[in-house]
Amino acid sequence: MGLRGFARGFAAPRPFVVSAADGTSDRLAVEAELRRRGWRPALSPAQTGTLVVCGTPGAALAEAIETVWRDMPEPRVRASADLEGVEGGAARAPLELDDVPMADRADDRDGLRLDVLHVPLGPVLADWPAGLRVDLTLQGDVVQDAAATAVDTADGSFWQGRPAASRLDGLARLLRVAGWDAAAERAAVLRDETLSGAVPDRALARRFVPFARRVGRSRLLRWMTRDVGGVRAALDGLLRDIGAALEGRDVPPRPPWRAALDALPALLTGTELGEARLIVASLDPDLGTAADG
């Protein structure tokens, strides 16, 4: 036990962070604290026993979180948003090994008979809009059908009056989904600097320019986002708006999330799963605000 105790003491925790619709400020605090400590967030709940819930989830989201929590590996810890308060080790309900039905089969777009899988994206998923669930019908990795649901909503206004930071947050998520962690991290740092108010906007605008140039001119990113449901246009729009907002110019308000959710099924149908994630990230619906703006 001595060795195990030492290893546990030496181990760097890697929390899985879930945000409720009203958890934006908590989530930003958690991300900043993780960065300060040199920790990384986990990509999936299987990879860790530490769960951090930001904000106050409604009943539906709380139930989803409870399911995830029940299946996380030991040693389990449920940390508060300051990563200090710890509650864990409680006896867990026995894992119910539900009998999963066999997949149905149907013709796919190429006329092959393939398994049809019904799988959800969210609401407990890394780099995903808080409170959103998209139910997918998949054949292989191609989306045959999609339905978007707002599982958790709030009528807060965290991003009100913070146009640059709000878009930097969306940009960071989009870049992470695009598999470019280093650029996403840079966007998150710029976001936090913008929010802290410690750095004048003029200096931030200067720091943003080379970053925007690097992201905007990346040929690989351009290639990977071209003709993917408006992702390229959204990315260019984000870069333009962030630059404008940091320079003190007016930027158009973010569209209300109801419109994004209505548009999702048509946009996602027929895409590859990776493209679907990019499309959702590019729309970046903020379910923490009023549905119709």
Binding site: F10, R14, S44, A46, Q47, P73, V100, S218, L273, R277
Partner: protein, 288 residues
């Protein structure tokens, strides 16, 4: 056997370098390893445990077995005349590893990660093989030490740059690293490795770093003149060059976004394969 241990140490160094490039402390990979070692193993519903375990264990095994034929100067753990073939065969084991892990855990997103890797492997194995064969063709040998010794001051990287570039690119694809990390992508919450927890994940990821280190080590005799260099003994030149290639491979992860195979497959078949074939033709005409 020292050579294998050196490559193992380089794999650990690669993990450290990757963390450092991302701004994490140098001890981060060791603390992560300690975390994974003390984390419970977790099973999914109706998982094929045997297949999953075979997938997890075979990845570091393949890396270790491939390391046997990697020469450092004139020294090599296992002296064989078909080192290139052996190395390539071990790389192909990685296909099975990732696919078995993605398939075995019975999770839709892990399965999609597996699909992605099979597509990636199909796109990259051919250009990769052609790049290996081009170097062998020029040296008239499949023995990595002979290939390294046949370059007489003019590195193959210089006079067959296409083969060298394709080797580096396809190596990233075979080790699903950096811009080719889509099979384990963040958009699938970890892809093929999504459901692996604790020691399983540690062993699997260690295997990937091992493959990365071995692939960097093989690039040296194939394209960078093996242990040739002034003053220092051969093994140290091999080590220096391996470190340089490995650093380059690790660095790509922080410089480039991920490539999706649904888009990149076309480039592999219409650009990389013809380019490597042309390169091979040129080399063939020159040496014959």
């Amino acid at each position: 056997m020292v050579e294998v241990l050196v490559l193992g140490a380089l794999a650990v160094a690669a993990a450290t370098l990757s963390g450092t490039l991302a701004g994490r402390p140098a001890a981060a990979p060791f603390r992560e390893a300690a975390r994974l070692l003390t984390l419970q193993r977790r099973r999914t519903v109706r998982a094929d445990v045997l297949l999953t375990r075979i997938g997890v264990v075979s990845l570091p095994m393949a890396a270790a077995l491939a390391a046997l034929v990697v020469p450092f100067g004139g020294r090599v753990a296992l002296s064989t005349s078909v080192g290139v073939v052996w190395f390539n065969a071990m790389e192909v084991v990685a296909w099975a590893s990732v696919w078995l892990v993605g398939w075995g855990v019975n999770s839709a997103y892990a399965l999609v990660g597996g699909y992605r890797f099979v597509a990636q492997g199909l796109a990259y194995e051919l250009p990769h093989m052609f790049a290996l064969i081009t170097a062998s063709l020029a040296a008239h040998s499949l023995d990595l030490r002979v290939i390294g010794g046949a370059q007489h001051g003019l590195w193959y990287a210089v006079w067959m740059p296409v083969a060298f570039a394709v080797y580096l690119v396809s190596t990233l694809a075979m080790t699903f690293w950096g811009p080719f990390g889509h099979p384990l992508g963040a958009d699938l919450a970890g892809g093929a490795a999504l459901e692996l927890s604790g020691p399983d994940l540690l062993v699997f990821l260690a295997g990937r770093y091992g493959l990365l280190a071995v692939s960097a080590g093989v690039a040296v005799p194939l394209f960078l003149g093996g242990g040739a260099g002034p003053l220092l003994p051969g093994w140290s030149w091999s080590l220096v060059k391996t470190c340089a290639v490995l650093s380059l491979l690790v660095w790509t992860r922080h410089r480039l976004p991920v490539l999706r195979m649904d888009r990149f497959m076309t480039a592999a078949w219409t650009v990389l394969i013809p380019a490597t074939l042309l390169q091979m033709l040129v080399v063939g005409i020159v040496v014959v």
